[in-house]
Symmetry: C2
Subunit: 335 residues, 2 copies
């Protein structure tokens, strides 16, 4: 019945420090000293205590411990879906960054959750700070997080909490230069969203090209998925048969477009140059490897974790701080 995690049979309750103290014939403090490698304990006593602890399968309660020295810190990381290759790169970096600072990471995934509102509310109860991409409005986030320091990644128009922005404009300029230098004359943007409402990064490409005197038509895919990229690629080829370069919303869509190009027998980069965005590792698995606007995820994670921990320590205000991390052009074989 009672949960236990030791060696004896089902039904027995977990051993406490008192059980160990009695078994070893010492006081609780002495058990503490033995378990935590503290000084001021005779070697023989220590061994006796540790033996008793092992015998009873004693494990110090993290709650008892946490209560006394507020030393057990946890960041809650909210991602949409780890199956989307974007998020593991972030999660990996956040976990490393947090670990370097002695924090744990609890992971929450909104995509598969029935009710992400309560998912994040629960997370906020278990974590000391929350980082990530919750699909919540500012108002919702404020309610749900109830004062827990919060850093939104890729904050955009949101304002509640802190944010880490990823800036694409400079790199987009570099990409435009790169494509034009290679002789592109009829580039097309494969954006995601609603036709007529370019994404921020899509608009950035259009602007960069316009600044260079090139007008770029847009084809819009329905979503950020692979299949949507395939469909978008086919639609783009149909609408612009003479296209010679494609900039896509992100690397996933780019992979879809690449598949469409392959199936249509279009050589990349020979006849069409293709670029993605995000700098996913995924881009190295396809042929040709994908040119992309990459962002250093370690820098993003470092920045987000640092900001959140600063908020926790009261050194960074809970509102209004934004960090910025720039994309950079990563030229691979597809352009």
């Amino acid at each position: 019945m009672t949960p236990r995690a030791g060696g004896a049979g089902p039904g027995s309750r977990p051993a406490t420090i008192i059980d160990v103290a009695e078994a070893a014939g010492v006081s609780r403090q002495t058990v503490t000293r033995a378990m935590n490698d503290m000084p001021g304990i005779k070697v023989a006593t220590k061994e006796r205590v540790l033996a008793a602890a092992k015998e009873l399968a004693y494990r110090p309660s993290r709650f008892g411990r946490g209560l006394v020295g507020h030393t057990q810190r946890t960041v809650g990381l909210v991602v949409d879906d780890l199956m989307n290759p974007y998020y593991p790169q972030l999660a990996s970096a956040v976990v490393s960054s947090a670990r370097d600072r002695g924090w744990n990471v609890i992971l929450a995934q909104t995509a598969k959750a029935a009710d992400q509102y309560s998912l994040i509310a629960d997370l906020a109860k278990q974590a000391d700070v929350v980082i990530g991409y919750p699909a919540l409005t500012d108002t919702q986030a404020q309610e749900v997080l109830a004062g827990v320091p919060f850093v939104r990644i890729d904050m955009g128009e949101y304002t509640y909490g802190g944010g880490v922005e990823m800036e694409v404009d400079d790199a987009m300029g570099d990409l435009a230069d790169h494509l034009l230098e290679r002789g592109s004359q009829r580039p097309v943007l494969l954006d995601v969203g609603l036709p007529g409402f370019p994404s921020a990064r899509g608009q950035s490409f259009l602007t960069a090209m316009a600044d260079r005197g090139v007008r770029v038509p847009t084809v819009t895919a329905a979503s950020k998925s692979l299949s949507s990229g395939v469909a978008g690629g086919n639609a783009l080829l149909a609408a612009h048969p003479d296209v010679d370069a494609i900039m896509t919303f992100n690397d996933i869509v780019a992979c879809g477009a690449l598949k469409a190009l392959h199936e249509a027998g279009v050589d990349v980069p020979g006849r069409v140059r293709l670029a993605g965005c995000d700098g996913l590792n995924l881009g190295r698995f396809v042929s040709p490897e994908l040119t992309t606007l990459a962002v250093d995820m370690n820098a993003v994670a470092e920045s987000a974790v640092g900001m959140a921990l600063g908020m926790y320590d009261g050194e960074v205000p809970l509102q209004g701080v934004r960090a910025r991390v720039a994309h950079h052009l990563l030229v691979r074989a597809s352009t």
Copy 2:
């Protein structure tokens, strides 16, 4: 100085239930009732308490809570590296599975850790059960985990704790049939490891083919990485120019081999059929999409989480239990 997570200035300590009780002019118990939506409290009182709580940026301590009702449960998940596309699929499934049962997941990554021994020791202190792929011997695991229920995924020859096995033999037979039906006469295995020491799944392919009267030569790649797959693919083409089918150690190596085939101008599946193993989503991003021996990660996660939680509840022995999940042939375009 003191860590805080509320609204007031740096240096103030976090508000406790007592602060709120005093501010609202009620007892602690009433604060508890208000915070936890418990019955037996007048609406007006509740509102007053919640207002005071908000004012003081009060957040109930998870340690105080955890101490009283052992209700806050956490599984520790050990993966090698989230940047490897294999692990996110597992992690995603484990997080979902755990969440369905009301457990949290703390993530630990061994690849980037300086000392994974202490990494896992720390994890075992924060978690009630541990699941994953720790690169630890049985002896090390036993020491480090100190009695925490432990389920190793893809247990193989290890014996400490419980395990979830992934069985590949049946599916490998199906793959052999599939390749032979399509007319393959000179299949080659692209294995990973040391030459002369086939991996379990490599051996399974050799055996399946031998059972069908086909002797399969092996080429061995150095590691399970993409670049190693490229190198292995090139070596394989050099050693067996007339190959007409390749089974690879896993999907990542298969992607590498596919790149090598592409660059060599070898049509897939026209001239060479290519299969991977693991069933990664990644296989759908390349052209042609990769045939693979897939394993249902949700089933693996469900099984591992269920077993670990059963151990925690004392309903499953801490040692010697193994679950099995079978691979299945997933035919896509590359064969």
